[in-house]
Symmetry: C3
Subunit: 320 residues, 3 copies
Amino acid sequence: MKNLKIGTIASHSALNILSGAKAEGITSVLYCKADRESFYRQWNVADEIITLDSYAELFDLDTSEVIMIPHGSFVAYLPIDRLVKSDIKLFGSKKLLEWESDRKLKDQLMKTAKLPVPKEFDSWEDVDRPVIIKYYGAEGGKGYFVAQNRDEIKQKADFSRKFSIQEYIVGTKVYVTFFQSYLYERTELFGADIRYETDIDAKLRFTADPTFTIVGNIPVVLRESLLIPYQKMAENFVAAAESLLNERIPGPFCLESIIDRNLNIYVFEFSGRIVAGTNVMIPSSPYSYIFHGEHMWMGRRIAREIKQANERGLLEELIS
Amino acid sequence: MKNLKIGTIASHSALNILSGAKAEGITSVLYCKADRESFYRQWNVADEIITLDSYAELFDLDTSEVIMIPHGSFVAYLPIDRLVKSDIKLFGSKKLLEWESDRKLKDQLMKTAKLPVPKEFDSWEDVDRPVIIKYYGAEGGKGYFVAQNRDEIKQKADFSRKFSIQEYIVGTKVYVTFFQSYLYERTELFGADIRYETDIDAKLRFTADPTFTIVGNIPVVLRESLLIPYQKMAENFVAAAESLLNERIPGPFCLESIIDRNLNIYVFEFSGRIVAGTNVMIPSSPYSYIFHGEHMWMGRRIAREIKQANERGLLEELIS
Amino acid sequence: MKNLKIGTIASHSALNILSGAKAEGITSVLYCKADRESFYRQWNVADEIITLDSYAELFDLDTSEVIMIPHGSFVAYLPIDRLVKSDIKLFGSKKLLEWESDRKLKDQLMKTAKLPVPKEFDSWEDVDRPVIIKYYGAEGGKGYFVAQNRDEIKQKADFSRKFSIQEYIVGTKVYVTFFQSYLYERTELFGADIRYETDIDAKLRFTADPTFTIVGNIPVVLRESLLIPYQKMAENFVAAAESLLNERIPGPFCLESIIDRNLNIYVFEFSGRIVAGTNVMIPSSPYSYIFHGEHMWMGRRIAREIKQANERGLLEELIS
């Protein structure tokens, strides 16, 4: 592509993505609702801002020169089935986003990758330990709740909605982000973060039913010996995804994990795209700095892969 | 000014301020108690260190070439009424510091700016929900306490001291710092931090009455969608301050906020000067790095604004 | 030395150390178990990787050109008594590592340095307040437990193992790292971190006996006024160590402290070598950036001291 642009939607990690494009000298375009335009304009990181009334308008625009970078809000605003069928050129695998958004496909991928997942219960009546209830389509942790036993589920759950029931592992959560590079044929460990959640992370609470709504992220590094199993899991994840989806999965992904008191690691979710946790890693995480020997945040890493792929005529292989 | 110097008092964020002056090539002077001199000398960031027995001596020194940068300890050591009347040249608004230090004026400013403040109770007898009691003049969170109801206030409060009674919002606290630039006519979102407080943040406590004494700060980033209401609040704050104080308020300020489980944001305090939380943002926060495209910490941002204002002959407008 | 190399063992803070050597242009060598080789090779920070079946093989290798950098796993894998007698050239003091690994010598050093240590109980029967029980040789916080009183000790302790009994100070923990430079004749305050521990830092726990197993580290800055007592303690520590050990203690060390609600600081441990907490300070901590005016992480600081000492013919004085 000659007039290559990087594009994204004005939310989630747009500042991260756009500033990365700028650092690598790639023209960028931001698709933005009118009420956010003045905010994003001030940051001066997008070469072009296109105002939309609805993100669905994106399907009708000419985006043939734009490599779109999907993020968490992207998937929330653009129906995945329309996205898959659309002409929008996505950096990464559309199929992976589709699998991520479907609980059953997601579980299948995690199990195929032999990730150590917490036990899933098909029915609340089988529950014999603390569990976490996740309503389908709940966003940003909102609406999740923890139940210590069957009685608590019965009492608290909204049975008119669909939800998954996952064993609640007691331990410390760590979100570890990787970048899958096909140009360099490697799975790069990029950084780790912790979520800052309301009101579970309140200094004081006076109720027994905390919520887990994400408000931000905090940087963390892992014990170096723990990096090794995470690297292995990430490589297994890539291999399983390529095999099940029958296509490449270039770009960022995140293993969302919990480490129990015996240092057992459980992966309870994955994200098949950039996560907001990488926003703490600007201009770099300790790991990305060591790996690249210069400041490297996820938006920049994405832009660099795209730029180099384009120079070598390999861009087609990284988009879907 | 020809022989411009940046000066501050040896505490709080002095290393931040001085290293910023150095990075921008401005001569700096540190006013220091004798027992701290050797500590600060080792850092090699002040061009000149002037030893004082008492900070009040500052009022008698010739500081006509010095732009003084106020910080939290500044206000604690130099009586605000003397500071306002003195010849000391302050970067920023002296009036804003005065309003910040007076509970009633502070509330008036926050309400004029339409910041979503927690409910204030005039009398403890009106309290009908958890509240936080803040003794006037308490420093660094020391002496604050939370009471769940009237009985607890009655039991714990020292009624011989003056205190404010504020609704206690259950949620996660975030301290968001901005830089008001008149050269660029904008309110720059600079960074966010969390406070690390003893003993509320102890891993274990065996008592029911935690203290909230600040010992340090931890970096955090916010969900990008939350940045937009913070930006709006900051701009409203600037407009309200300019209108009420009838002068400009150049430089850093901080909105001290709490986000409840429904993602409602409450602003419970503001600081009209640099906060110690910006010390985590050296050499940059994710936001300041994106905004400026290079390492930018608050001390450097201040020094740069002063330098550029001086070059353009606009310095007078930024000092009071 | 003409063909100077920096070497370490593949764990703990090896990426930190190796990337520091690379940044300073010093050849590096990594001693690695076979199952970790592919992981470390991907990072591309070691000039040479030597695979070992057992770390004890290190004693038989020719390491005459290698300055070895000890870290936490180093001490865990290589018996300290063999290390002391070996020809391995260590950056820093072997004796300090020996004293660190012996509970009684460690206490003696901390007391000689007049560090404000929590009370130690010789017998569990003397306990009259909350205490922390630390089994000898326990690694990474694993196996520590807190007891509120004698009954809890009796109930929980494994009396067949040796353990120390230390007063449990309620407060916030801070790990403050220094670098002792003999070239510059100063004790550099380098950075601070907090430990992230499972399962005490779990968002929810359903048991009353948390564990304190370290999984990672989080960055923190201290109130600037608190830096001064820490600096003083660090300098006292260096002086006491030099006097008791009768040799220099070049390089990194860490004061592991807790700050109670009255801002009293207690030092409950020290580490006489690089700690994993410095991994959060890549490419720099706020303090190391101010001090050096450029990105400076601990691995780089070590490499720079070695390089400059070698250039000046002073290297012999920094190794043992």
